[in-house]
């Protein structure tokens, strides 16, 4: 039905109306743990955006040009996760070799990305939603930016919350959840701007 949706529309939709974190709940683990500091959050956000764009593209190519023609699409999961792990490893080596400075800035985040379910989720979504090649690139990029936006916003809010007097049982994760809920509600305000399935 929406095969003709322009890649640009998908980028916008993936950032705002279908935010991968706030409407699909993906990448919550690192979202909760790594949103204590603004710098950490921003670094991780950039790394996730980059890896997600590239792995979505790679996985699209592998799924449609290798797995489907060979009728081995039941191996999708294992192939996708292997591609992601290998890609992250490759990026890590590449960055270490050519830009030690960037490596020190991003270094600790790269291994974390392998286990970030948002990355695998984005690849699985583009198969389920039957995106085209350009749409997949747009979706990977948009989802990454959306995730980065959410974690950066959260880091800002958490900084503020550090000065609040929160009842003991609600300290920590409980409040983080409630705040995320309010954020998800806010993002629902974007609904109707653009829509993808």
């Amino acid at each position: 039905m929406e095969h003709q949706t322009a890649a640009f529309i998908i980028v916008i939709a993936a950032i705002f109306t279908n935010n991968i974190l706030l409407s699909n709940f993906l990448g919550m683990c690192s979202f909760l743990v790594c949103s204590r500091q603004l710098e950490t959050a921003a670094g991780l956000g950039v790394a996730v955006t980059f890896v997600m764009t590239c792995t979505a593209t790679l996985n699209y190519a592998i799924y449609h040009w290798v797995l489907v023609p060979l009728h081995i699409d039941h191996l999708t999961f294992i192939v996708f996760i292997a591609v992601i792990a290998a890609f992250v490893q490759f990026v890590e080596m590449f960055v270490e070799r050519f830009s030690p400075k960037l490596y020190h800035a991003l270094g600790i985040f790269l291994p974390l990305i392998t286990v970030n379910c948002a990355i695998l989720g984005a690849s699985l979504f583009l198969v389920i939603r039957k995106y085209s090649f350009t749409q997949s690139i747009g979706f990977g990029f948009g989802a990454g930016v959306g995730w980065a936006l959410a974690i950066i916003l959260m880091a800002g809010l958490r900084k503020k919350m550090g000065y609040s007097n929160i009842p003991a049982p609600f300290q920590g994760v409980a409040t983080a959840m409630l705040v995320t809920g309010v954020m998800a509600m806010t993002f629902m305000g974007f609904a109707g701007m653009v829509s993808i399935q």
């Binding site: 709940f25 683990c29 743990v33 999961f77 974390l112 409980a174 409630l178 809920g181």
Partner: protein
Amino acid sequence: MAADTASPIGCASCGGTGACGGKGIQTLREGVWTNNPISIQVLGICSALAVTNRLANALVMGGALIFVTVGSNLFVSLLRNVTPRRVRMIAEVAVIATFVIVFDQFLKAFYWDMSKQLGPYVGLIITNCIVMGRAEAFALQNPPLVSIVDGFANGLGYAIVLALIGVVRELLGAGTLLGYSFGALSWYTPNQVMVLAPGAFFTLGFLIALYNVLRGPQPEDAKP
């Protein structure tokens, strides 16, 4: 044994909380209550939030996770003495992915509707930190039998929390339970927000707070 969420890179060792020295019943208690994967270790909440808009989905997901943790714990434990340390991660992922594929194919073959509803979240069990965490923190150091118990306990702890969230969200969001509506609830106007994303966050937030109240104050709790 508090969650290692205190350090900014804590998520590197998802579930590396380890220190589960107990055996048998002790292991079971830890997985279900004192070290519950969701409310204490805060692992695997992606799917806990995503598939709990209906109780039926939550139950199937809980079952899937029990199956995968038990299976992967058993095999990782059996292979623990022959797996070289350097490649253990990739070996664990391969074992986990195999079990996830088995479950996914089973759903597709016999419960197509459910498979479509759960969408990508069945595949995402692979990156569910609980499974990986238990394989890494427990099964690698323990004999197969205890590993099965540990996998079952953590899967069960996860499934119980999922079912609770599912009950709350379906009841408040749609006024039904497992698809059945109650005559006694006919006055209630379902609140759509509970089925949508924010409802999931609110429910889990309050559930964790409730758990904290029931468990009593803990000295080493992480600060927000």
